[in-house]
């Protein structure tokens, strides 16, 4: 417990001083790393914790980004107020989308979630209600103002994104160490046993989707701010595959695992932007090797970390 805390403090300390030592492209990478980690952690609520095969999570990320973009550019609502709206809307979508398909078994659910992602993507491309801007997307999204500070410089956005990551990690930690997280895990491990002990399957599964959708949407808003623009291909099915892969490669239901997964799947390829053509060939093979060497993920989740008063010999 203590040891973990030390690691996390070290991790965030590095994160805080990091932008002062690297060039600006790496600050951007750091920001996007934080946001992708948030999305991956939110995907993990559904995929890793509740064990539902969700391969359409970029939908919720996109709902957040587009909600903020539309509300800000069309209705001139300050970004900071779009955050709760985006979260609520995305969570609502999560509920509506998952409700009818929640009873589907593993791979069928996977296909249904892919389907929702593709429907969402086509809706963006077709300029739904004349709001999404079609293939061009939406440009000119403003910056949030918090306590009178304008979050528009590169570093300000970086710290804001990491603050969001910190909040998300706390929420995920809280989920893990509570009735809520245990219920998700029970459902993943054995649905029948979980139901037989009073876990309301439908409620918790839909709740997992709603929570996952809400958190992903939060990352989406900041993402829209970071690039001052949103466009459809950032939220397509390929992107969902990335988030899915992050969770599995890193270690389902493991916070450090998912951070490492994001690092491996998003940051590592950044080193090779200059030797471009072969990098995804090598990367594909690396993915296979990683799974073979670490089938449970790079840093698998550990269970059995219990409150002190339980494990201490009395």
């Amino acid at each position: 417990m203590r040891k973990n805390l030390v690691w996390y403090i070290l991790f965030f300390t590095i994160a805080v001083i990091y932008p002062h030592f690297v060039d600006p492209s790496w600050v951007d990478i750091g920001t996007t790393f934080a946001l992708y980690s948030v999305v991956a952690l939110s995907q993990d609520i559904v995929l890793g914790k509740a064990g539902m095969f969700d391969m359409g999570h970029a939908t919720f990320f996109g709902i957040g980004a587009y909600t903020a973009a539309i509300l800000n550019t069309v209705y001139n609502i300050p970004i900071i107020y779009t955050i709760p709206i985006a979260i609520a809307l995305s969570a609502l979508f999560g509920i509506i989308i998952s409700w009818p398909i929640i009873h589907l078994r593993g791979d069928y659910l996977l296909v249904a979630t892919i389907g929702f992602n593709i429907i969402f993507y086509q809706a963006l491309q077709n300029n739904l209600f004349g709001l999404t801007g079609g293939p061009n997307g939406i440009f000119g999204i403003g910056a949030p103002v918090i306590f009178g500070i304008n979050i528009s410089s590169q570093r300000a956005i970086y710290y804001f994104a990491w603050f969001i990551l910190l909040i998300t990690m706390l929420i995920i930690y809280n989920i893990d160490k509570s009735k809520l997280g245990r219920a998700f895990h029970y459902l993943r491990e054995s649905e029948i046993a979980a139901e037989s002990f009073g876990v309301n399957k439908r409620f918790y599964k839909v709740l997992a989707f709603a929570l996952g959708a809400g958190v992903a949407s939060l990352a989406g808003v900041i993402f829209a701010v970071q690039y001052a623009a949103v466009s459809p291909e950032t939220f397509n099915f390929t992107q969902s595959v990335l988030f899915f892969t992050i969770v599995i490669v890193g270690g389902p239901s493991s916070i450090p695992g998912i951070l490492l997964g994001t690092f491996v799947m998003f940051v590592v390829p950044q080193f090779f932007r200059e030797f471009a053509t072969a990098r995804y060939f090598v990367f594909g093979i690396a993915m296979i090797l990683t799974m073979i060497l670490r089938p449970q993920g790079i840093w698998p989740a550990k269970f059995g970390k219990l409150p002190k008063y339980l494990t201490k010999e009395s």
């Binding site: 929702f116 429907i119 809706a123 990367f283």
Partner: protein, 300 residues
């Protein structure tokens, strides 16, 4: 009416290609419970290998017919072997691992094959020569049918019937079905499950390679990411039919081909993908394991 018939004819041609590719997904899934996301890229690889073989054959001044025969045999053999090697290297080490780890391994294989094609054949499109099949067109009361479509449809149907007989009438076929129902029990009955898995990968890759060559002959355009689109469609076809069920994959492929043309032709072209997926989701909501998939009651 002729417009409708025209759409159906075209839908069946593309549907039969989906069906051939879908069988590869469904067979692997049936025995290993693995979504082999690399299967589509194998199909694309087949088309590229086929084109290379064909060009070599023309270079050796073979006649059209012999060149095509050579293309089919060499490609089918190469891709079947490739499928076997893929299983050995990327999936077998993960057989005891969590299911999704194998899925990620498949995604990695897909990425590697796709980018491997780009490295070998370049990022630009490649075009099949147009004169390899005699292309005759028939106008039957306003409906245009060409000889390539008929050849594809007939060959696909023959292959599927052959597969059906193989699966249902031969010893290996029975062993494959047994392994699909219960791998452990099959093992106890003395079935060499490793051998069966090699067989299904060879067979699925073989049919996929034929599908890839058909794509090359029919559409004539190859690009390195094509496998992803055909793979996804074929995977959906397998799901519609009930994944794991071989006749289901055939049915699903044909249905998807027809859905595609009817939605694009009669409902909305710009929303055709969204509507296809909406239809798929509705099918799943009503029939959670696809049309021919059986609802497996979990033993408690």
């Amino acid at each position: 009416m002729e417009i409708f018939l025209q759409q159906i004819v075209n839908g069946l041609a593309i549907g039969s290609i989906y069906a051939l590719v879908a069988i590869g997904y469904t067979m692997v899934y049936g025995v290993m419970k693995l979504i082999n996301f690399a299967h589509g890229d194998l199909v694309a690889l087949a088309a590229y290998v086929g084109l290379t073989v064909l060009m070599q054959a023309f270079g050796m001044h073979l006649s059209n017919l012999w060149a095509v025969i050579l293309m089919f045999t060499v490609t089918a053999m190469f891709i079947s072997l490739f499928g076997i090697i893929l299983e050995r290297l990327a999936y077998r080490p993960l057989r005891k691992a969590p299911r999704l780890s194998a899925v990620v391994s498949a995604l990695g294989a897909s990425l590697a094959i796709e980018n491997g094609i780009m490295l070998i054949w370049g990022p630009n499109i490649k075009v099949f020569p147009s004169n390899i099949f005699p292309s005759t067109r028939w106008h039957i009361s306003g409906v245009v049918i060409n000889s390539t479509q008929i050849a594809i449809l007939l060959l696909s149907i023959i292959l599927m019937i052959a597969l059906y007989i193989f699966i249902n009438r031969t010893k290996i076929g029975t062993a494959i079905r047994a392994s699909a129902i219960d791998q452990d029990a099959a093992k106890l009955m003395g079935i060499n499950v490793n051998g069966i898995i090699i067989a299904i990968f060879a067979l699925g890759s073989f049919l996929g390679s034929i599908g890839g060559l058909f794509i090359g002959i029919y559409y004539r355009e190859l690009y390195f990411q094509m496998g992803w689109i055909y793979g996804l469609n074929a995977f959906i076809a397998a799901i519609i039919g009930g994944i794991g069920n071989i006749p289901g994959a055939m049915l699903g492929g044909m249905l998807l081909g027809i859905f595609n043309v009817l939605i694009a032709g009669y409902v909305s072209n710009t929303w055709s993908e969204a509507l296809t997926f909406a239809l798929l989701i509705i099918i799943l909501i009503i029939k959670p394991t696809g049309i021919l998939g059986e609802r497996v009651a979990e033993k408690v």
